[in-house]
Symmetry: C2
Subunit: 123 residues, 2 copies
DNA sequence: TGACTGTACTAAGACATATAATACAATGAG
DNA sequence: CTCATTGTATTATATGTCTTAGTACAGTCA
């Protein structure tokens, strides 16, 4: 389900956060479905529950999940994702596109890559 | 020339690296031109020379700069930028586009944003 | 020669990360 | 109600990274 690279320089809680976000985005965890409990996921990944909690807090700040004490944590609806996340993604997109252009890649080629994802989505 | 946010969680050497990379990409520092010396830039930014050196090492690994002992550090030519950087950027691009699509943004809109940069470039 | 350059190394402190060990309130099945 | 599970909070500790400080050495060039 999730994989970790303990050698990676990135903090574990970021890897968990990005991994879960990806599972939600790809639909592997449908909106409204329950995420693994803090203790369960910590056991599966063989890490501390506090680290999982930190990843869940981050996902909740972004709007990708919400937690209910006594019940569990759940995947949120796309509509509930905060606008700050959208703005941040666009900012990152601009930076990457600008550097790719500097490296000699044509903007048509970059746009085509985005289009390919769009058509993939509608299958 | 460069600005730092000491409150930011990001390490200073990463801010310096990204800032210089941006100056090179945008053409503010043309290929072949000399970058500020380790000690000079450290003095201007009021930080330690070791921190600047670390940023320069990173830029050299990416291919955006090269250093010559006794002479200085210089902006590299785009041709010398490693292919690994290109692949890494495309990987990041895919991840961001996929998340933007999940958030409901149309791929035409994303492609148009890339096109806007492309036309900006040709002015 | 002397002033500059990049580079290397050690030591110390500040800070983030991760673990460990508890504790508490809310939930829901029995 | 009882009890296991849930999220959440707290404190303490160990480790690694980041940054500064200080020093040193070799190459470049006026």
């Amino acid at each position: 389900m999730l994989s970790l690279n303990l050698r990676d320089s990135r903090p574990i809680y970021e890897q968990v956060r990005d991994g879960l976000r990806r599972l939600i985005i790809t639909g592997a965890i449908p909106p409204g479905d329950k995420l693994p409990s803090v203790r369960t996921l910590a056991g599966q990944l063989a890490i501390n529950p506090n680290t999982i909690q930190r990843a869940y807090e981050a996902l909740e700040r972004e709007g990708y999940a919400y937690s209910v004490p006594g019940k569990g944590s759940f995947a949120a609806l796309p509509q509930d994702v905060t606008d700050k996340r959208r703005v941040e993604l666009l900012r990152q997109l601009d930076t990457i596109v600008q550097e790719l252009l500097y490296l000699g890649m044509a903007w048509e080629e970059i746009a085509a890559r985005c289009a390919a994802f769009g058509k993939e989505e509608s299958k």
